[in-house]
């Protein structure tokens, strides 16, 4: 890891320097534009050489922790290995260099791939149909909620409430609100799961759906799911499942068999497409036969041996994304599914569960795990015992960086005090898990014996803890061109 801070690309700029030569540059073009539409001043982009760019972005990359360089046990994010084979195939020009409006006869292979991917996801989840259009999990949720709205509207019984457990990811209530629903929270039961009585009390004829995550954010399977689904259906509402945690269930149980009406999958989690420092991902939505007509358009259709896009459908909720969604990401996910196949995917969940439970077993004596029992693909430990030494979960997260591990998800879910949400995934070895457990246990010792080591962490990173209060009080969200004084002179590390 490069420890020296890297100047901004703008600070490397030298007037007149160039990095890329165009085939036939022209200055004449501009006169083709009427004066009123012409740009007056060129945007002050950096003026650098190709090597400047290569060094700058290589050095910046070295300031990052990533799955390729470190263990990255970020809970509920499924930071598994992203196979290089996916990248290689997706970069082929017959996948990457394709225009979305090119005629159907010239994209038959791509359409077949998308159709086969839909079928594969149906089989994995037990749902009847999928749309591949949503670009991310949250956009999948939004799509699902729009489908729920359309379903009730068609029945001429519009409903305005969505029930969401208090342990849910923040995108769930945000997606519900963005879909025009009122959110009512369900308090988790004493066993960390959805409480049937609480659900019964809050179910009304105005409830459009219950949105639940299974396994939930505590890594626990909602074992009453069949009864929950029955109860919800008996009141005319639907069951939406956030499928972010599908990595726990492959070949073990299918949402379609549990009574789930619709769900989104996060291909960048379970199906190994890279997280890319934030995206792009893909969040396909699967539905039961009864909801299929509401799926976004366009949809891939097969007629004989030919494929085509169907653009119109009267009941469809419409589009949520331009063209067909993140097609480039979908190629990667399908490469993964075909590489692993039936047995491989089953081994994924099996290995993910054993890895998570093993790590839990190694840690739970020191860091209590509320609702302790076998977990599925992840677990939530509480770092509350360290509070007595003045050490918080946030401090431990920072200290882990010094040990060369990315931190788990911290302070989530909200229902656990000093939460540390750990998801190792199946692609990590026992040796890595042991090294991580050893580091965490050593940090627990440090917290007792030399707490300042933990509270002042990280020490080994390119920067120490950042002043987030300053960042929020005086937002500095862009570099300002020369002339303006630099409020943050660059200090080179010794």
């Amino acid at each position: 890891m490069a420890l020296k801070p890297e100047p901004l690309i703008f600070e490397r700029s030298v007037p007149g320097r160039r990095a890329y030569r165009l085939p036939a540059p022209t200055a004449a073009g501009e006169t083709l534009l009427p004066e009123e539409h012409r740009r007056q001043d060129a945007p002050p982009l950096p003026e650098v050489a190709e090597l400047d760019v290569v060094r700058h972005f290589t050095r910046l990359s070295q300031l990052n922790f990533s799955v390729d360089t470190q263990f990255y046990p970020l809970g509920s994010c499924t930071m598994k290995y992203n196979p290089k084979l996916n990248e290689r195939i997706a970069s082929w020009s017959r996948f990457a260099q394709m225009h979305p409006m090119q005629p159907a006869p010239t994209v038959q292979g791509f359409l077949r791939l998308l159709d086969e991917l839909e079928q594969a996801l149906c089989r994995i989840t037990g749902m009847a149909a999928f749309t591949l259009q949503p670009a991310a999990g949250a956009q999948g949720e939004l799509t699902g909620l729009k489908i729920i709205r359309a379903h009730h509207r068609l029945k001429r019984k519009p409903r305005s409430t969505i029930l969401i457990p208090d342990s849910a990811h923040g995108t769930n209530p945000a997606s519900a609100a963005l879909s025009g629903f009122r959110v009512v929270e369900l308090t988790s039961g004493a066993n960390g799961r959805l409480d049937l009585e609480e659900l019964r009390a809050k179910l009304s004829d105005d409830v459009a759906a219950v949105m639940l995550t299974n396994p939930n954010t505590l890594g626990l399977f909602e074992r009453d799911i069949a009864a929950i689904a029955q109860l919800v259906h008996s009141r005319g509402a639907l069951v939406y499942m956030d499928g972010a945690n599908m990595n726990a269930l492959l070949g073990i149980v299918r949402p379609g068999d549990m009574g789930v009406d619709l769900l989104q999958l996060n291909l960048h989690k379970t199906f190994s497409t890279p997280h890319g420092g934030g995206g792009p991902g893909a969040g396909p939505v699967g539905v039961t036969k009864a909801l299929e007509d509401f799926l976004p358009v366009p949809r891939v259709r097969k007629a004989g041996t030919r494929f085509r896009w169907e653009e119109r459908s009267t009941r469809s909720i419409g589009r949520v994304h331009g063209f067909y969604g993140n097609t480039g990401v979908l190629v990667r996910a399908y490469v993964y599914i075909r590489t692993l196949g039936r047995e491989g995917l089953q081994r994924v969940s099996r290995a993910a569960l054993i890895n998570a439970n093993y790590l839990k077993a190694r840690l739970s004596k020191t860091f209590p795990v509320p609702f302790d029992q076998h977990c599925l693909h992840e677990f939530v430990a509480s770092l509350k015992p360290l509070k007595a030494s003045g050490v918080t979960a946030w401090d431990v997260a920072k200290r882990l960086l010094d040990y060369g591990f990315y931190a788990p998800t911290v302070y989530f879910p909200l229902v656990v005090d000093e939460a540390f949400m750990i998801e190792p995934t199946e692609t990590e070895s026992k040796e890595t898990l042991d090294a991580f457990a050893d580091a965490l246990l050593r940090i627990a010792d440090e917290a007792r014996t030399r707490p300042e080591l933990v509270t002042h962490a990280p020490q080994q990173m390119p920067v120490a803890r950042l002043d987030e209060v300053k960042a929020a009080r005086e937002p500095d969200l862009r570099w300002t061109p020369a002339g303006a004084p630099d409020p943050h002179p660059l200090v080179t590390a010794p």
Partner: protein, 133 residues
């Protein structure tokens, strides 16, 4: 913890002070301590009609955002222009320079339903000895 006797309080940790015919509103020392560093305050527009117990302003720290509820119903007559620019005033002087807004009360009877300093002191004592926020 400072809880001035002359003020009235709400369960949601606002304070209210009578000033002429109007009521000044801010957040309590307990609230600003729980919030830690206040980084942003969003105030209502002057002239806005607010209802007792309904959100009237927003206060934010780095990792949390809370609604500030109107302690009584009325119309906003003045807001503290200084705090959006210097939100630290809420931490430094929550009963003084860190006030939020002034209301012209619509229903004077609502004042009497607000908590006294003693009642509020009891509330936050039970609160902090409980399971925490």
């Amino acid at each position: 913890m400072e809880i001035p006797q002359a003020l009235r309080y709400t369960k949601s940790h606002e304070w209210a002070k009578q000033d002429g015919g109007e009521i000044v509103v801010g957040i309590t020392a307990h609230a600003q301590e729980e919030l830690r560093d206040v980084v942003y305050v969003e105030l209502p527009p002057v002239g806005k009609a607010v209802t007792q117990g309904e959100p009237a302003a927003v206060v934010e720290s780095v990792k949390a955002a809370f609604d500030i509820y109107a302690p009584v119903s009325g119309t906003v007559t003045k807001v503290n222009e200084a705090i959006p620019k210097s939100p630290q005033l809420v931490n430094q002087d929550c009963y003084g320079q860190g006030w939020f807004f002034v209301l012209k009360p619509g229903q004077p009877a609502e004042w009497n339903a607000l908590m006294t300093a003693d009642a509020y002191a009891t509330l936050i004592q039970t609160h902090s000895s409980g399971s925490g926020t």
